[in-house]
């Protein structure tokens, strides 16, 4: 369970990233955070694994305030919270397999990992997760030989190999085309349902948010302006969150083109 209590974040340059945020995210939920760029979605997500540090309030994960975490405590929090990025953030020159194994780093001693001495179980787990996202045949390809959608699937496998309790995804489909976007979201949703991993996704596409979320949180200027189940959301809700009428580019487009799971 993640609890934001009066959480605020002011960046050194004076920008207000978060403003008095009060949100509770329950275990197993699939939450989509929507808002325009600069609304604080990224800050919200990055506070949870402390890539940024809120300046005021409390942030409880499994009933522990994480804001004071440092060193090994912070690292063990981060092994528990996996993250998926807009630009996949793979090591482009390394193989797919090595990238996925990197998910085990937090669970592996520094010495062992530097000499690539991962246990048999770790390797099997990494392979298993590559299979889950249907990309196991690219095992020994270099990451930069893969298409964007394939790279994002590898990064999902990497997060799974981390065995997290929570997955954060920061605009995971912003660099992808519509069919691949749906594919990636479907994998995320499937993992959420099968493994019960709490998943928090930043999106700015309204239709995708509606299709995959259990619950939507709307943000504007660092504040939470909407929080409720998808059933309560309508077009007016989005217009309220965005502070303007809905446009074409707020929509990702149809899922229909998505026939094949492999590309």
């Amino acid at each position: 369970m993640i609890q934001f209590k009066d959480l605020s974040l002011v960046y050194p340059n004076g920008t207000q990233g978060l403003k008095d945020v009060n949100v509770t995210i329950n275990d197993g939920e699939f939450v989509v955070i929507v808002g325009l760029s600069g609304a604080g979605k990224s800050t919200f997500i990055r506070s949870i694994n402390r890539l940024v540090t809120p300046t005021d309030g409390e942030l409880l994960i499994d009933d522990e305030d994480i804001l004071g975490y440092k060193g090994s405590k912070l690292r063990s929090l981060r092994t528990k919270v996996g993250m998926i990025f807009q630009n996949y953030n793979l090591v482009k020159r390394s193989s797919v397999f090595k990238n996925v194994l990197a998910g085990r780093l937090g669970h592996t001693g520094t010495f062992r990992s530097i000499f690539n001495l991962f246990s048999k179980e770790d390797k099997a787990l990494a392979y298993q997760n590559l299979k889950r996202v249907n990309i196991e045949e690219k095992l020994y390809n270099r990451a930069d030989q893969l298409s964007g959608g394939q790279q994002q699937r590898v990064s999902i496998a990497r997060v799974l190999t981390q065995k997290p309790d929570y997955i954060l995804a920061d605009e995971p489909v912003a660099s992808l085309d519509p069919p691949t976007s749906h594919q990636v979201m479907k994998y995320l949703k499937k993992i959420n349902q099968e493994d019960g991993i709490t998943t928090i996704v930043n999106l700015h596409f309204i239709d995708m948010a509606m299709e995959y979320a259990d619950r939507i949180i709307g943000m504007r200027a660092g504040e939470v302006v909407f929080d409720g189940p998808v059933s309560e959301v309508s077009e007016e809700t989005f217009e309220e969150i965005y502070g303007r009428s809905i446009r074409e580019d707020d929509l990702r487009g149809s899922v229909e083109e998505d026939g094949e799971a492999n590309e």
């Binding site: 890539l51 996996g82 390394s94 990497r158």
Partner: protein, 276 residues
């Protein structure tokens, strides 16, 4: 026909009057000023160093002295020179090896994108900048002074000298990498050392290998040179023969050095091409 074209392209004088000047007088003035500055400095420097046209001409006419004094090269020195040459190469190998090992932590400290402590970063940079201004020979003089005449002082001097160059090259490479994957490692709970090993190392490894070979090339030359000041190897032999006025032997040694430098740079260059 060709003539026609030529004429058409040459603007007549009348047209030219209305055309904008290619370079306005201010730019022209500036260029003239710089030109005279360069020439003036040249004359001044020539005077100070006692070089004038006369010296140049008499110097050049002395060039035939090369043949008189330096030829034929003395083949008697070859065996001794080869022994000392191998010593020189060994010095370069050892110094380059230690420099490539030590440069890893140093270049990480001197890379802005990985610097967690700005104070340490600035100090490292400062020391490296000073180090790079000191010529190899001067370093050799100092370390030979510290450790005595011989190979050891030379190796230390080469090590320090090449560390300065290598650290700059590698830290700049580290600064140019894609930090996204590093962020991902940190976000998955990896320690800094792990994140560096998995995200930074694969990205810099090809350049690292190439630069290490490049530094080995530099060290081969430098190890010849520092021998002149007592740091062992073939340079030492060269200096001995030079101070005994054995110019035929000097020429032979120089030819050997030349051949080795060319061969090693060629091989190393080919390997570097294959890597990147």
């Amino acid at each position: 026909m060709k003539k026609m074209v030529k004429q058409m392209n040459k603007p007549s004088i009348q047209e030219d009057r209305y055309a904008p000047m290619l370079s306005p007088w201010r730019v022209k003035g500036k260029i003239t000023l710089i030109f005279f500055l360069i020439i003036g400095l040249l004359f001044f420097s020539s005077m100070q160093t006692g070089v004038d046209l006369q010296a140049l001409i008499s110097g050049l006419s002395n060039m035939n002295q090369i043949f008189v004094k330096l030829f034929p090269p003395d083949p008697g020195i070859v065996n001794l020179a080869m022994d000392r040459l191998i010593e020189t190469i060994h010095m370069a190998i050892i110094a380059s090896t230690f420099a490539t090992i030590v440069v890893i932590p140093v270049s990480l400290l001197a890379a802005r994108n990985l610097a967690t402590n700005l104070f340490v970063y600035n100090i490292t940079r400062f020391i490296l900048n000073i180090l790079r201004t000191i010529p190899d020979v001067v370093l050799a003089v100092i370390f030979v002074g510290l450790f005595g005449i011989g190979v050891f002082g030379g190796i230390v001097a080469l090590f320090v000298f090449s560390l300065g160059i290598l650290a700059k090259l590698i830290s700049e490479t580290v600064e140019s990498i894609d930090m996204d994957s590093f962020e991902a490692m940190r976000a998955s709970g990896a320690s800094s050392v792990q994140a560096i090993a998995f995200a930074v190392v694969p990205q810099v490894l090809p350049q690292f290998t190439s630069f290490s070979l490049y530094v080995f090339e530099i060290n081969i030359r430098a190890s010849v040179v520092i021998g002149l000041v007592g740091a062992g190897g073939i340079g030492n032999l060269l200096m001995q023969q030079f101070s005994f006025y054995n110019y035929d032997a000097v020429m032979m040694i120089i030819l050997i050095i030349f051949a080795v430098v060319v061969v090693i740079e060629y091989i190393s260059g080919k390997i570097r091409e294959a890597i990147i």
